[in-house]
C-alpha cells in the first residue's frame, strides 16, 4: 500500500551516455534509470519498487533536444521534456499530432519535468498493480483486476493475458501512427526498433511494457519524413481535462488526395497493453473517400474482437466514436 516515504538509495549522476550505460550494466536488476522522475518517484515513494542504485540520466545533454534529420524527419532526444515537444515549432509544423499528444499528458507541472523517454517507457497504471499487490505483473500469480468484481474500468479490451493493464502513454499512439523509430543504446551496442515493436504485451513479457532490457537506455526517437505535414487527428478522452490518464485515445496520420484517403496509420491508446495499431481500420479506409460513411465504417470495424471486462465495455462505443471522428473530423 501507498507509503509516501521514499527509502534511501545510492544516486549516480553520470554526464556521459557510456557512463550511464556502464552503471546500469554494473548494477543490473538493482539499478534504475531516472529521467524526470514522474513515474519513478511514485514507485519509490510507495516503496513498491526499491532500487538500490539510481542512475540519473538528466545530466546527459546529448540526449536533449529536437533536431531536424537529413531526410526531413525529426530526431527527438529522449530527455526532451513534453513541454518542449508541445511547443516546438518543428514538431508543431510537421507532426502536430505529437505536439497535441504531448500537450495532453498529465498536467503542466508534469509536462515541464516529464521526458518523452520516460513517457514512452513508463510503467502500467493498473491501480491494483500501482497499489503494490502481488499480481502477475509484479511477479506474483494472480490478477486482481480481471475478476468478477474487479474494478477494471480503465483496463483493456484486447490482449488480456494474465494481465489486463493498458498502455498509459499519450504519446505512444502518436509515435506508432508516425511510425517512429526508437534508438536504443545498451551494453551490447545500439539498436533501432519501430515504435510498434517497442511496446510489448504480457504475452511477451508480463513484467515489462517495452523491449528495453535492463541496462539499455532509450536515447532518441526518430520520426521519419513519410508523414510530415500529413493530415492528423489526435484525441484523448479522460474524465478530467487535465491531470488524468486516457480512458481511450486515438492517433491517426493520413494522406488525403482528391478527397480519398490514400495512406493512413492509426493507433489507439488505453485499450490494450500496447498502443493498438488499428490495421483493420487502415485497410477498411485506404482508398476510400474521406466522408461520413467511411468514418462510420471505420468506427464499426475498429472494435471488432474487443473483449470487455466487467466495468470497461463503455470503451467499445468510445473507441468506435473516436475512430469515426478521426476519419470524419481530421
Amino acid at each position: 500500500m501507498s507509503k509516501d516515504m521514499m527509502a534511501g538509495f545510492e544516486l549516480f549522476q553520470p554526464d556521459t551516455l557510456q557512463g550511464a550505460v556502464d552503471l546500469l550494466a554494473r548494477y543490473g536488476d538493482e539499478a534504475w534509470a531516472l529521467a524526470g522522475g514522474n513515474d519513478s518517484f511514485d514507485w519509490f515513494k510507495d516503496r513498491v519498487k526499491r532500487p538500490s542504485y539510481v542512475v540519473d540520466l538528466t545530466g546527459l545533454t546529448e540526449l536533449n533536444g529536437i533536431r531536424e534529420m537529413a531526410d526531413g524527419g525529426v530526431e527527438i532526444g529522449a530527455l526532451t521534456t513534453l513541454t518542449e515537444i508541445e511547443n516546438n515549432s518543428l514538431i508543431q509544423g510537421r507532426y502536430s499530432i505529437l505536439a497535441d499528444a504531448a500537450g495532453r499528458v498529465a498536467s503542466p507541472q508534469i509536462r515541464n519535468t516529464g521526458t518523452i523517454g520516460g513517457n514512452l517507457a513508463q510503467d502500467a497504471r493498473c491501480w491494483y498493480y500501482r497499489y503494490g499487490v502481488d499480481c502477475y505483473r509484479a511477479g506474483g500469480d494472480t490478477c486482481y483486476a480481471d475478476t468478477p468484481e474487479g474494478q477494471n474500468r480503465e483496463h483493456c479490451l484486447w490482449g488480456a493475458n494474465r494481465c489486463v493493464a493498458v498502455s498509459p502513454s499519450d504519446t505512444a499512439p502518436a509515435m506508432v501512427a508516425l511510425d517512429a523509430r526508437m534508438h536504443i543504446v545498451g551494453p551490447d551496442g545500439e539498436r533501432e526498433v519501430a515504435a510498434e515493436d517497442f511496446f510489448i504485451g504480457p504475452d511477451i513479457d508480463i513484467e515489462r511494457m517495452t523491449v528495453l532490457e535492463p541496462g539499455e537506455v532509450l536515447t532518441a526517437i526518430r520520426i521519419p519524413a513519410d508523414w510530415a505535414g500529413s493530415t492528423f487527428y489526435f484525441e484523448k478522452v479522460a474524465d478530467r481535462n487535465t491531470w488524468d490518464f486516457a480512458l481511450v485515445s486515438i492517433a491517426a496520420a493520413m494522406v488525403v488526395e482528391g478527397g480519398n484517403i490514400s495512406r493512413i496509420r492509426m493507433a489507439a491508446g488505453a485499450v490494450e497493453c500496447v498502443p493498438r495499431r488499428l490495421s483493420v481500420v487502415e485497410q477498411v479506409v485506404t482508398g476510400q473517400p474521406k466522408n461520413e460513411a467511411t468514418a462510420n465504417l471505420a468506427g464499426q470495424s475498429s472494435v471488432r474482437g474487443a473483449t470487455p471486462l466487467n466495468f470497461n465495455h463503455f470503451k467499445i462505443p468510445l473507441l468506435q466514436n473516436l475512430v469515426t471522428r478521426a476519419i470524419r473530423d481530421a
Binding site: M1, S2, K3, D4, M5, M6, A7, G8, D46, R47, S107, W127, Y128, Y131, V133, Y144, T147, E149, G150, Q151, R153, E235, V237, A238, D239, R240, N241, T242, W243, D244, F245, L247, N310, F311, N312, H313, F314, K315, P317, L318, N321, L322, T324, R325
Partner: protein, 804 residues
C-alpha cells in the same frame, strides 16, 4: 440598511501570508530538538492484531520511540480510536514510530512485524444488512450517530424478503434505525396524479484538503502545545484535550491557518493527538506530517447513500407526499449523521404536506466518514433534483415552475417537527436567477444539437442549516484606541473569521484600520465558540460579536456618564469617541474611556464577568482583565427558528454524446444568505462551491475493490476533484441580500448549499441533454454518459457502491 463595513470587501489579515508563503500551517512549525513520527497503517480491511514485534525497529539507530494502542486513551466504541489493535479499514493507524527523521521512522516501520488475524469485512451496506452478511465490526454493523446522545452500535439484519426487488434496482427498505413522519402520507400518495418511486446511489467522496492533517506537539511548563490543522479553534480544545488526556486549561492550541477541511477538520480528530502522546513518551517535540496518500486513507470521506424516494405529485405539480429512505454507508467508525439531513432537505425544499423519513447508517470497512460540505443535504439534492425534473417532464410542467410551485416561502417549515425557519428567500433567489440567466429563452435551447454536441440547461436548488446560537464573544477596547476582536471560530479559509469580526467594529462604529482580529492561538485569549462548519459562522459569530460589542458599547456609555454626568443613554458614539448627544464636544475618546475602564476596574475592565459565559471564555477574559474595556457576553439573543441558507443554481452545458464529455457554458448561482457580509468572500464561496459540486456530480471517484477491500482512489489523480480545465472560466454569482431577522445585522451562512446547487444543476443538465435520461447515481462519470448515449447498460449493478 447601509452599513459602514458590512457588505464591503476588505483585505483579510491572513491573505498576505497565504500569498507570500509566510503563513504557517501545522507542518511549517519548527522547534529545537524536534523528532518526527510516522504511522504504521493497517494493510488489511479488518483484522485483530495478535502480536507486534518491534525488536528490529527498536534496535535501529535513530529510532526514538514507539507508541501503540496501549499507550493512548481508548475511545468509546464506535468513536475513531487514536491507535488500534483491531483495524477496521485499510490505512487505519496501528502504531507510531518516532525517529530523528522521517525516513528512519519509516524504515523502522518496515522492520516491525505484526501478526494479524484477518476478520470478515464488508464494503457494501446492503451486503451487511442481508441475513448472514458480514459485519464491518465485531460489535455490530449499525451505528446511531444522530447528535441526540452518545453514539451507539448494534447489530441489525433484514429479512431475505426485504431484498426481493433488489435485482430490479429497488432499494430494500427493511427495519430502519430511525424514522419520523408527519401528515397523512397514504392520502398524499392516493391523491397524487403521479407517483415516482426511485432508488439511487450517491458515492462517498474524499475531502481532498490541500493541507493534510499534520500536527506537531511538545510539552512545556505543564502545558501541552499542539500545532494542528483544523477548521475550528476553540471548539477543538475540549475534544483534543480529552484525546491527549489533559484538561482544556492544560492545552495550548495553535491553528492559525488551515489548508482546507471541507468538514473533515471541523473538530478535533484522534490522530492529531498522536504527536502529543509521542512527545510525552520520548521527551522531545514531535512533528507528524501526514502525506497526501495517508490523507486519503485516514483523512475521512463523505458518507455514501443507497436511497429510495417516493414522491407524489398533483396534476398541477404540487407535491402531495414524500417518503424517503436512506441506507448510509458510514465507514467503520462513528461516521456522521448525513442520513437524517436527507429527510430534512426534502422537507424544506419541497414543503411536502405529508412526509416520512426513514434511515439506517451501516458500517463498512472503508475510510472513516465525517461531515463533508453539505453532509446529507448535497447528496440529497444531487439525487432528488433530477427527479423533480422527471416529474416536471411527466406532468408537462416547466422545470423552473415545478420548483417554484413547491418552493418554501416565508412560512417555510422544516423537518420532523415542522419547525419554522429564521428566514427563507429561496423563491426570490430563484426569480433573480431565472431573470439573470434568462431561463425563459435558455430553456428553449434544451436538446439543441450541434454536431455531436447537445445543449442541456437546468435549474437547481440547495439548502443547508445556517447557524447556531448560545456561544460567547469577547471584544476589547485598548488605551491605544484599538478594537481587538477575539474570535475563537477558526480559519477554514473563507475569511469569515474576519468578516464576522467586522460586526463588532460596525456596532462600535470603528474604523477598520483600528481593529485587530485576535485568532488562531489559545494564547490570544479566545472565547468559547462553535466550530467553523455547518455554514454557521456568519450567523452564530454575528451574534456573539454583536453581543460582546453591545456590552462594550454599554460600558463606554456608562463610563462616560460616570465621568461626564447624566445617564448612559445620554451618550452616543462616533469617530472612536463616546460623546453627549446634547453636546458632542463633551466626550471621551475610546482610548480615554479604555484607560478609565482600567482605573474603574470591576466589570469595566474584565475583573468582574457575567455568570453565564463558558469557562473557556471566563479564563480568556480573566487573562485580558485590566487591559481596557472588556466587552464579553454570551449570545442570549432570542432565536425562534432554524437558520436556513438556500441557493438557486442555473446552468447551460454542451454534452458531446460521442465522448461523454461536456463543457459548462454558463453557470449562475444566487444565494439566500441574509445580508451580504463580504461580497468577495460570497462570490468565492459560490464559485468554489460550484466547482466542488461539479466534481461531486461528475468527476470524483471513490473506488473499493469488494473482494479485497482495497481502496482504488488514494491520490489526487485517482480521486479526481475537478481541475481548472473542467470548470467554466467565468461563473456568475448574486445574492438576494435580504436580512435574516434573527441575526443582529441580518447575516447568515452559505458555505455548503453552494456546492449542492452546482452538483444538482450539472446532473440535471446532463439528464436534460440526454433527453431526460436519469442515472439515479452520483457521480455520473464519463463511462456512464458514454453508455447512456450509446443505449448500453451500465457496468455497475443498480445499487452497487464504491464503483465510481
Amino acid at each position: 440598511m447601509a452599513y459602514k463595513l458590512i457588505g464591503s470587501n476588505f483585505v483579510p489579515p491572513d491573505i498576505r501570508g497565504k500569498v507570500t508563503g509566510s503563513a504557517k500551517y501545522a507542518e511549517d512549525f519548527r522547534v529545537d530538538n524536534m523528532a518526527y513520527c510516522r504511522l504504521l497503517l493497517s494493510p488489511i480491511p479488518h483484522a485483530r492484531v495478535r502480536s507486534i514485534d518491534t525488536s528490529r525497529a527498536e534496535a535501529m539507530p535513530g529510532v526514538l520511540g514507539i507508541l501503540t494502542a496501549e499507550d493512548v486513551p481508548a475511545q468509546p466504541a464506535p468513536a475513531d480510536p487514536i491507535l488500534t489493535n483491531e483495524p477496521m479499514f485499510i490505512g487505519q493507524p496501528i502504531l507510531a514510530v518516532a525517529a530523528v527523521d522521517e525516513t528512519t521512522a519509516h524504515d523502522a516501520i518496515d522492520a516491525i512485524e505484526i501478526d494479524y488475524e484477518p476478520l470478515p469485512f464488508c464494503v457494501d451496506p446492503l451486503e451487511s444488512l442481508f441475513p448472514g452478511g458480514d459485519d464491518a465490526r465485531t460489535d455490530g454493523n449499525v451505528v446511531d450517530n444522530r447528535l441526540t446522545g452518545p453514539p451507539s452500535i448494534r447489530q441489525m439484519k433484514w429479512g431475505a424478503a426485504d431484498f426481493a426487488a433488489v435485482n430490479e434496482g429497488q432499494l430494500p427498505t427493511g427495519e430502519p434505525a430511525a424514522e419520523w413522519s408527519y401528515g397523512d402520507i397514504d392520502a398524499g400518495f392516493e391523491n397524487a396524479a403521479l407517483v415516482l418511486d426511485e432508488s439511487f446511489v450517491t458515492a462517498g467522496m474524499s475531502h481532498h484538503s490541500m493541507e493534510p492533517r499534520s500536527a506537531m506537539a511538545y510539552w512545556q511548563n505543564g502545558k501541552c502545545f499542539v500545532f494542528g490543522s483544523t477548521q475550528s479553534q476553540s471548539f477543538v480544545i475540549p475534544d483534543l484535550a480529552n484525546y491527549i488526556g489533559i484538561t482544556p486549561q492544560e492545552l495550548v492550541y495553535v491553528a492559525e491557518t488551515c489548508g482546507g477541511g471541507f468538514g473533515s477538520k471541523g473538530s478535533a480528530y484522534p490522530v492529531m493527538s498522536i504527536p502529543a502522546h509521542m512527545s510525552k513518551k520520548i521527551g522531545q517535540p514531535v512533528m507528524m506530517r501526514i502525506s497526501r496518500a495517508e490523507e486519503y486513507y485516514l483523512g475521512f470521506a463523505r458518507t455514501g447513500f443507497q436511497g429510495r424516494i417516493r414522491l407524489g405529485f398533483a396534476a398541477d405539480g404540487r407535491i402531495t407526499a414524500a417518503d424517503v429512505y436512506i441506507v448510509q454507508e458510514n465507514g467503520a467508525t462513528v461516521g456522521f449523521p448525513d442520513w437524517p439531513s436527507a429527510g430534512e432537505t426534502v422537507s424544506i425544499l419541497y414543503q411536502p404536506p405529508a412526509m416520512r423519513w426513514r434511515g439506517i447508517a451501516v458500517q463498512t470497512n472503508t475510510p472513516p466518514r465525517s461531515a463533508q460540505r453539505g453532509p446529507g443535504h448535497n447528496q440529497t439534492v444531487s439525487a432528488v433534483e433530477p427527479l423533480i425534473d422527471k416529474a416536471a417532464r411527466a406532468l408537462g410542467i416547466d422545470r423552473y415552475e415545478m420548483r417554484r410551485i413547491n418552493a418554501p416561502g416565508r412560512e417555510a417549515r422544516f423537518g420532523e417537527n415542522q419547525a419554522p425557519v429564521t428566514s427563507c428567500y429561496l423563491q426570490e433567489a430563484m426569480a433573480k436567477g431565472a431573470a439573470a440567466f434568462d431561463w425563459e429563452n435558455k430553456r428553449a435551447l434544451s436538446g439543441q444539437r450541434n454536431g455531436s454536441k447537445v445543449t442541456g440547461v437546468a435549474v437547481s436548488q440547495a439548502f443547508h442549516p445556517a447557524g447556531f446560537a448560545g456561544f460567547d464573544g469577547i471584544v476589547r477596547l485598548t488605551p491605544q484606541g484599538q478594537l481587538h476582536v477575539h474570535t475563537g471560530i477558526g480559519n477554514l479559509g473563507t475569511y469569515s473569521h474576519t468578516g464576522t469580526s467586522r460586526i463588532a467594529a460596525e456596532v462600535l462604529n470603528c474604523d477598520w484600520e483600528n481593529c485587530v482580529v485576535e485568532r488562531g492561538d489559545t494564547r490570544k485569549n479566545l472565547p468559547w465558540n462553535i466550530g467553523q462548519f455547518g455554514s454557521n459562522t456568519s450567523f452564530t459569530m454575528a451574534r456573539t460579536n454583536y453581543v460582546a460589542a453591545m456590552d462594550a458599547l454599554s460600558k463606554l456609555k456608562e463610563i462616560a456618564s460616570i465621568d461626564l454626568g447624566g445617564e448612559p443613554d445620554d451618550y452616543d458614539i462616533g469617530e472612536h469617541r463616546v460623546f453627549a448627544k446634547a453636546d458632542p464636544a463633551r466626550g471621551l475618546t475610546y482610548a480615554e474611556a479604555a484607560q478609565r475602564a482600567i482605573e474603574l476596574g470591576g466589570k469595566f475592565d474584565g475583573h468582574e464577568l457575567p455568570d453565564d459565559i463558558n469557562p473557556m471564555t471566563r479564563e480568556s477574559a480573566t487573562a485580558l482583565a485590566g487591559t481596557g474595556i472588556i466587552g464579553v457576553a454570551r449570545d442570549n439573543l432570542p432565536i425562534t427558528g432554524q437558520p436556513a441558507a438556500f441557493v438557486a443554481g442555473f446552468i447551460q452545458i454542451e454534452l458531446d454524446i460521442e465522448t461523454g464529455k461536456f463543457d459548462i457554458i454558463d453557470y449562475l448561482a444566487v444565494a439566500d444568505c441574509g445580508t451580504v457580509i463580504h461580497p468577495q468572500g460570497l462570490a468565492t464561496q459560490i464559485k468554489g462551491g460550484g466547482v466542488m459540486g461539479f466534481g461531486m456530480a461528475t468527476l470524483e471517484r471513490h473506488i473499493y475493490d469488494p473482494q479485497n477491500g482495497l481502496p482504488g482512489t488514494v491520490g489526487l489523480y485517482q480521486a479526481k476533484p475537478a481541475s481548472y480545465l473542467d470548470v467554466p472560466e467565468t461563473m456568475r454569482t448574486d445574492a438576494v441580500d435580504e436580512p435574516d431577522p434573527q441575526s443582529p445585522l441580518g447575516t447568515k451562512g452559505i458555505g455548503e448549499p453552494v456546492m449542492g446547487a452546482g452538483s444538482a444543476a450539472l446532473i440535471c443538465a446532463i439528464s436534460d441533454a440526454l433527453g431526460g435520461h436519469y442515472f439515479n447515481r452520483v457521480p455520473i462519470t464519463t463511462d456512464q454518459i458514454v453508455n447512456a448515449a450509446a443505449g448500453r447498460d451500465q457496468s455497475h449493478g443498480p445499487l452497487q457502491v464504491n464503483t465510481a
